[in-house]
């Protein structure tokens, strides 16, 4: 079932406890970190997920109001622009056939899809976590807080990208659970970081407070 040497029984038990959800917050965070970095532990977790999956029959299906619009608004904050309206003024002057020919002839070639970039910002022992999604086509970054709490009064969280020269450049403050900001030119391999700053952000233009979470930008 696994390509790895068997885990010590203690670790396999921990994997089972993690999958069952028995652990407290600190133990849970440790197990999650091990899952990310230890393939053998990750395989044990997957094996327990599969082993216990018949219990999923114990969860009822419960109809829920349509949450898809809210989810899509979070994930795809910039509405897709309708592009075809430009020919409307001419439509009356052309027959349908001529219109079809005209559209084929005039429509620009499809823009090649630019793959989105993502990053997960987290740190060991840190409840705060963010998911970032970068749309290179329109140069925006959507940041969603997936764990932890906003900064307390008198403080702000600030987002940074670490450039190739190692110098952090500010991408602005993070005051909402989800937010979209302009961020052109981000590339895979760059590091995003969130630091804790005085209210209003770093007074120096460089991080002054502790860096709480980081994540590497990756394709996809």
């Amino acid at each position: 079932m696994s390509d790895f040497a068997p885990l010590p029984p203690e670790d396999d038990a921990l994997a089972a406890e993690y999958v069952l959800g028995l652990l407290d917050t600190a133990e849970r965070a440790t197990a999650e970190r091990r899952r990310r970095v230890e393939p053998a532990f990750a395989a044990a977790v997957t094996a327990w997920e599969n082993r216990l999956s018949p219990l999923n029959a114990g969860f009822d299906e419960v109809p829920v109001r349509n949450l898809l619009p809210a989810i899509e608004a979070r994930l795809f904050p910039v509405a897709e622009q309708p592009r075809r309206r430009w020919f409307a003024p001419f439509a009356g002057a052309l027959t349908a056939a001529a219109l079809a020919v005209a559209i084929i002839a005039v429509l620009p070639p499809p823009v090649p899809e630019v793959a989105p970039l993502t990053a997960s910002l987290a740190a060991e022992g840190q409840a705060l976590a963010f998911s970032a999604r970068i749309d290179p086509a329109d140069g925006t970054l959507t940041l969603i807080r997936t764990g932890g709490a906003p900064a307390e009064a008198g403080q702000d969280l600030q987002l940074w990208v670490i450039g190739a020269d190692g110098v952090p450049a500010s991408l602005g403050l993070i005051r909402e659970a989800e937010s979209t900001r302009p961020a052109a030119g981000l590339t895979p391999g760059q590091v995003l970081a969130v630091s804790l700053e005085p209210a209003g952000g770093s007074p120096t233009g460089q991080p002054t407070g502790p860096v709480l979470v980081t994540g590497v930008i990756a394709e996809g």
């Binding site: 406890e17 028995l22 997957t46 114990g58 299906e61 898809l68």
Partner: protein, 180 residues
């Protein structure tokens, strides 16, 4: 694992296919809402959880590996972990409220019947049957309701370490039985 439409949708979602994402949502949201509601107990919090879960599904779908398990298993794991994280993040007063725990229905016997009825895995039902009843109930209570060691110890009125020993032994036994 011949047919797994959820896995197919997930692989398309992983390459950024929004139509597949909508289809996936339509087919699976009632189940994932059921998971979140069972663990969190209120519709509003379960709705919040489901939104977050699908956000993560979109962001992580390309990590799904169909050779390692079924698509629905992967989705439910994300939903359970997120709901449990929310449960653990509640203030301690809300987590340890005995009245709340006592109010939760303990419908464990019905669960096993339904697994068998679903023809899903006679084996796990048989293996649960080899455990002492209280311990089988504790394993299922943890899985289905997100009960922590503390909550289980309180519910079964045993010290926390006893509960931990019980459950570890039960899980080992379960694994041996299912692989035997």
């Amino acid at each position: 694992m011949a047919e797994d439409p959820v896995a197919d949708w997930l692989s398309r979602v992983g390459s950024g296919d929004r139509a597949a994402f909508r289809a996936l949502y339509a087919a699976t949201s009632a189940k994932l809402f059921g998971v979140a509601l069972r663990i969190l107990g209120t519709r509003s919090e379960a709705e919040d959880a489901v939104q977050e879960v699908y956000t993560r599904v979109w962001l992580n779908a390309r990590k799904f590996d169909p050779s390692k398990g079924a698509g629905m298993t992967w989705l439910i794991a994300i939903a359970r972990y997120h709901a449990i994280d929310r449960l653990r993040a509640r203030p301690p007063a809300m987590q340890s409220d005995d009245e709340v725990l006592d109010a939760l229905p303990d419908d464990t016997p019905g669960v096993l019947d339904r697994i068998v009825a679903a023809g899903d895995a006679q084996r796990i039902a048989d293996c649960f049957a080899t455990l002492e009843p209280g311990r089988a109930a504790a394993v299922q209570g943890a899985y289905l309701q997100g009960l922590s060691y503390q909550a289980l110890a309180r519910r079964h009125d045993v010290p926390l370490n006893t509960m931990r020993t019980w459950l570890r032994r039960s899980l080992l036994k379960l694994k041996e039985c299912m692989e035997g």
